[in-house]
Amino acid sequence: MSLITLTGIGKSFKVAKRSAGFAEAVKALFVREHTIVEALRDISFTVREGEIVGYIGPNGAGKSTTIKIMCGVLVPDAGACSIMGFTPWKDRVRYVRHIGVVFGQRSQLWWDVPVIDSFELLRDIYAIPPGIYRKNLDMLTEMLSLADILCTPVRQLSLGQRMRCEIAASLLHDPAILFLDEPTIGLDAESKIAVRNFIRTINRERGVTVILTTHDMHDIEALAGRILMIGKGTLLYDGSLSELRSRYGTQKTITVDYKAGASPIDVPGVQCLSWSSGRAVYTFDSDRIDITDLINRLSAGGELADVEIGSPPVDELILQLYKEHRV
């Protein structure tokens, strides 16, 4: 059952043209010239209940515009959007009750007071019944290890601690959908893993649908079964990560460590990325080159100490996609 349906969403912005020079500035006092920037064109996709979707794309591609439309903040110029039976921008107050939003850069907590005070005010804003609030608070405190920091003012928290509180704050009212905008940006490794684990758990155990925008491809690898990629305002890719891998992922790298000084081996169809005495890195197309055969050939150069075969990182895959669509 589709929870989220977007059909033919389009959005353009009028951007004032600013030119340099005094004459232009004077003219600008009287007449403002505008260019029309098409931020979104014919965006259509559906999301089923319980999915985790990674929404990626280069900066300025239209990611935040789409998110704002889905949150009811922005009104599109064309197209239709139905989320849980609501049209987000039309039924804003009633609809927004069912979503949670985390903007990575901006805080939704009140800065100078303890975290718990912010939570309680959110409880009043969302009119959460006390029993449910208590239950959710306890669960979130445990799952995100907030017990020690609940009474600390937000301004004294580290970024990792703050992000955990932000995510908790967005889930207090039992939203069905969670929108996360760059949730792991700036976090240390431990916090990133904690956040990812939490999102996976909340999705699995409570069926929260998650829409996640991120530039960190490890987030995508860890969480997103499905990727939506947007570039220059249009949807370029809608599918799973494994599909992406199979499309572009046949390029593999092989790293061989030699025991003693070895000589470089030239293998047809295989490109050498780097060579130093002791280690050689090659890339090859795993569809066309047999791996066993390759290792045999490479061992002719010297005694092998270690062999490692790697898939290209997700970053590379995405880059390929960008290149293909020229964004």
Binding site: K68, L74, R106, W110, D112, A127
Partner: protein, 260 residues
């Protein structure tokens, strides 16, 4: 309504974190307008009276307007400081919550240091009342309270208009201060001492006159018409405030369709 008080208490707690700064600003908010009042006192001492007004009558006018101003500066600060909200992009955060924009903007900011000015206004009102030979009937007391509320409505309306302006540009915002600070400077004196066109503008367009001058005449027993008319005059400020709120809604709608 309860939510409004919740917003207030969280921001009060917030501001109290900066204790010394709070009290100092509060003190400043008391002394600065007090020097203005002292100036008026000295001028009255020298000149005796304004045409048609004694010192205590003028003090009543002064106290009412300053009380209205400080109350609105404290409790409607959300709209007064709205430019910060917009520039930092925090207005989107408000749109994601299941509440109306007005209550959330109101709840976004309070300026409790204005208590200093409120205290000063109370002192001035006390001085005024002690020197006036007026019979204080319940009707007059109600009128006085309504005058203050009416003043708050007028100042709030100006704040709301200035905040709506921010949806288009944050540039010339200081001009709004001409109407708030300037309006206060002007209305703190009884309006009939000014030239006719000034009085008319500030009675019909930005209705300070309805809020301070006309009911003031009633309190000082200078009116002929029906009492109730003068008592209810301050409610005319709603005729100003409600259109301002309508303009605000237009501004929000525009923001949501053009994105900022």
């Amino acid at each position: 309504m309860r939510l409004y008080f919740k917003y207030m208490s969280i921001l009060f707690k917030s501001q109290l974190q900066y204790r010394t700064s709070f009290w100092l600003l509060c003190a400043g908010q008391f002394f600065v307008p007090f020097t203005v009042f002292a100036g008026i006192y000295f001028l009255f001492e020298r000149f005796g009276k304004l045409p048609g007004w004694t010192f205590h009558e003028a003090a009543l006018c002064f106290g009412v307007i300053h009380m209205a101003f400080s109350v609105s500066e404290c409790f409607v600060r959300g709209f007064d400081a709205f430019s910060n909200l917009i520039v930092r992009g925090d207005f989107d955060r408000l749109l994601v919550r299941p509440r109306g924009t007005v209550i959330q903007v109101l709840g976004s900011n309070f300026e409790f240091t204005r208590f200093g000015r409120m205290l000063q206004s109370a002192v001035v009102l006390g001085i005024a009342v002690s020197g006036l030979s007026v019979q204080w009937t319940p009707a007059k007391i109600i009128t006085l309270i309504l005058m203050i509320f009416g003043g708050v409505a007028v100042f709030s309306g100006i704040y709301i208009l200035a905040a709506t302006f921010c949806f288009w540009t944050v540039q010339a915002l200081e001009v709004a201060n001409i109407f708030t600070d300037g309006g206060r400077e002007m209305a703190q004196y009884p309006l009939d001492i000014y030239a006719k066109w000034v009085t008319r503008f500030f009675t019909f367009i930005i209705p300070f006159g309805a809020v301070s001058y006309l009911p003031l005449l009633y309190i000082l027993d200078r009116t002929d018409g029906p009492d109730l008319l003068y008592m209810a005059m301050p409610l005319a400020s709603l005729l100003f405030l409600l259109p301002c709120l309508a303009v605000w809604r237009i501004g929000v709608r525009r923001y949501r369709s053009t994105g900022s």
